[in-house]
């Protein structure tokens, strides 16, 4: 078991810098998820930890030992690839044991490890099959099994579920979570799916364009995002962003006018430096944080465009002024398209961002 520490890690492909100095501390036994949009450098970071990519700058330490110049096989890691990367010409059993056999591991120990991995993943039945004869979910299990057999200190997963259908994805997600509890080892998991990140992670690292935007526990990111990007990325459906302007500041509070909503105003108490009067700001409100008229501090009338009924909740895609808002409603209060209704925003449930996207607290 080992902690993983990234210190000011930089990656360049030629002169093109794709990771701009990442500082990430992963504690021993922690489950950390790297999440971010496509191309933000998640895989690159993971591959640098694995040793499959050179590190252009900074340091990566595993279990307290800097591994920049350590061979991938000597880093105590195992990786599960998005494409599974199984050896196509070997049976499941051979796939699991290949690495150990090639390194002259004692036969009895190899057998024990393979057996244990097969039991953990319930793939005993499949041992004599080839990857071609397996379903996507079974291949995924074998790929994870191959990682378990190595008995690594750190597991690395690169979007392991993205080739599975929705149902299987949920099932494997639960299983990976169970595996983490059972093995108690450090896991680093890459995904661009925020639901996966929220459900699996002890802590989430949100990346964007090669920068670490925020690191924190799932609910911390959800409740207290550092900036507009994180606020928009975490949570589904996305947070609504409402254009506003500061019209008055006083007594550690700013009053903003929602310019597209007929002059509706909201007084937002703040604890840090107040924005300038007249500054353009953005008010962030999650779909589930719209309240009934009178329950909140600021009412805005909207017209339902489309309503999606999911059973327990409904999402109303509403048009308000020039802005599209997504409003979550309990099923009992569902609306049909074309309805006019009014929603209310609570100051404590609204987040304020400045023009650059930084949070105003």
């Amino acid at each position: 078991m080992a902690a993983v520490t990234l210190t000011n890690v930089v990656k360049r492909f030629g002169s093109f810098e794709v990771v701009h100095g990442a500082d990430i501390d992963i504690a021993d036994g922690e489950f950390v998820v790297f999440v971010g949009p496509s191309g933000c450098g998640k895989s690159t970071l993971l591959r640098m930890i694995a040793g499959l990519e050179d590190i252009s700058g900074g340091k990566i330490a595993i279990g307290g030992k800097v591994v920049n110049d350590v061979e991938p096989a000597d880093r105590g890691i195992a990786m599960v690839f998005q494409s599974y990367a199984l050896y196509p010409h070997m049976t499941v059993e051979q796939n699991l044991s290949f690495g150990l056999r090639m390194n002259g591991n004692p036969k009895a120990d190899t057998e024990r490890r393979v057996k244990r991995a097969a039991e953990i993943l319930c793939i005993d039945e499949l041992m004599q099959r080839r990857p071609k004869q397996l379903s996507g979910g079974q291949r995924q299990r074998v790929a994870i099994g191959r990682a378990i057999v190595r008995e690594p200190q750190v597991f690395l997963f690169d979007e392991p579920l993205s080739n599975l259908d929705a149902e299987l994805r949920v099932q494997m997600r639960v299983e990976i979570s169970r595996l983490h509890k059972e093995l108690g080892v450090t896991m680093v998991y890459v995904t661009h799916d925020q639901t996966e990140a929220m459900t699996l992670a002890d802590r989430i690292v949100v990346l964007k364009g090669g920068n670490v935007e925020q690191i924190g526990a799932p609910l911390d990111l959800y409740d207290d995002p550092a900036n507009r990007f994180v606020a928009g990325f975490i949570g589904s459906p996305k947070m609504n962003f409402i254009t506003a302007k500061v019209v008055e500041t006083s007594n550690s509070a700013a009053t903003v006018e929602l310019i597209n909503h007929g002059g509706a105003r909201l007084r937002k108490p703040l604890c840090k430096a107040l924005p300038a009067v007249g500054a353009e700001v953005v008010l962030g409100v999650r779909p589930e944080h719209f309240f009934e008229v009178g329950e909140g501090d600021c009412d805005i009338p909207v017209k339902a465009d489309v309503a999606e009924h999911l059973g327990s909740v409904s999402y109303v895609y509403a048009n308000a002024g020039a802005e599209e808002l997504i409003v979550e409603r309990e099923a009992a209060r569902q609306r049909a398209s074309g309805d006019h209704f009014t929603v209310s925003i609570k100051a404590e449930r609204a987040l304020l961002f400045d023009k650059t996207g930084a949070r105003i607290r």
């Binding site: 061979e71 990367a85 050896y87 390194n103």
Partner: protein, 286 residues
């Protein structure tokens, strides 16, 4: 539906006609001819005449022996060489890959006569560059054309030079279809590059290698150009005579079509038999 098919067949008719006249008919006809005595006028039906002669003909067994010898030595050497060339071509360290790929492929498009003439010059006893090179490293000259063993070696070298690059290009395509992450997984499994080659690359290339081997076996069974042009009609003294040459001599020098047809059928039968054995030996385990 039927009507649509009929239209398609009408468009295909010219091709099918030509195919029938110049492919199907000769195949049938030569089979029939192989059962006829063709040195008499008119030809007469004599089922054992040619086939009986074949069984006892020392010239035939000499040609068969030479052909199989070339096959057994040259094909494995060439395929191994082609694999090495393909792996080198595939290396990320290689600069100017396109140029090498062209260079490897070029021998196939060089005219047969020109290439044979150049080989004769290169291997000539007194003026050839090969003997000069041998001399310069202190080895004796080799008379490539008047002794059987060097002459056979020369044929094998020439055929290998001509076709190794061609096979390398086919194998290269196979190499490039092996996903990179399989090697990355092996690297994480602490499997050395050499072991990766033998335990991952070679097994995954097997279908392509078998394909190349089958093509080469069929090609070598019909070997004609090199012994005809380079060692002057199977010289010295029939030492490099192949089945292809024997067929040519019987059919087109002696005009013994019946016997030539029997030889042709033997060659085809052998090629099919060897290929089947090869496919069976390298079949995918169930």
């Amino acid at each position: 539906m039927r009507y649509r098919n009929a239209t398609a067949y009408r468009f295909l008719t010219p091709y099918l006609l030509i195919f029938a006249v110049f492919w199907i008919w000769p195949i049938i006809s030569s089979f029939l001819i192989s059962f006829q005595a063709t040195r008499t006028v008119p030809w007469r039906f004599a089922p054992t005449f040619n086939w009986g002669r074949l069984i006892g003909d020392s010239a035939f067994f000499n040609a068969l022996k030479n052909t199989l010898l070339i096959l057994v030595i040259q094909v494995p050497v060439m395929i191994s060489l082609a694999i090495v060339m393909a792996v080198l071509l595939n290396s990320p360290l290689l600069k100017a890959r396109g140029l090498y790929r062209f260079a490897f492929f070029a021998p196939v498009v060089v005219g047969e006569v020109a290439y044979s003439a150049v080989f004769r010059l290169m291997f000539s006893l007194d003026f050839g560059i090969v003997n000069k090179l041998l001399n310069s490293v202190g080895l004796p000259k080799v008379d490539w054309f008047s002794n059987v063993t060097p002459a056979m070696a020369l044929i094998m070298i020439a055929v290998t030079w001509r076709w190794a690059g061609y096979n390398a290009i086919i194998i290269l395509a196979g190499l490039q279809s092996i996903p990179e992450d399989v090697y990355e997984a092996a690297t994480l499994d602490r499997v050395s590059k050499v072991k990766q080659f033998f335990h991952i690359t070679l097994p995954l290339l097997k279908p392509v290698i078998v394909f190349c081997a089958v093509l080469s076996i069929i090609g070598t069974m019909q070997l004609f150009t090199e012994p005809f042009l380079i060692t002057e009609r199977g010289g010295p003294g029939g030492g490099t005579e192949t089945l292809g040459l024997l067929l040519y001599r019987q059919g087109f020098r002696s005009l013994n079509f019946g016997y030539a047809s029997a030889i042709a059928y033997t060659m085809a039968g052998l090629a099919i038999a060897i290929t089947l054995v090869q496919l069976w030996l390298t079949r995918e385990p169930k």
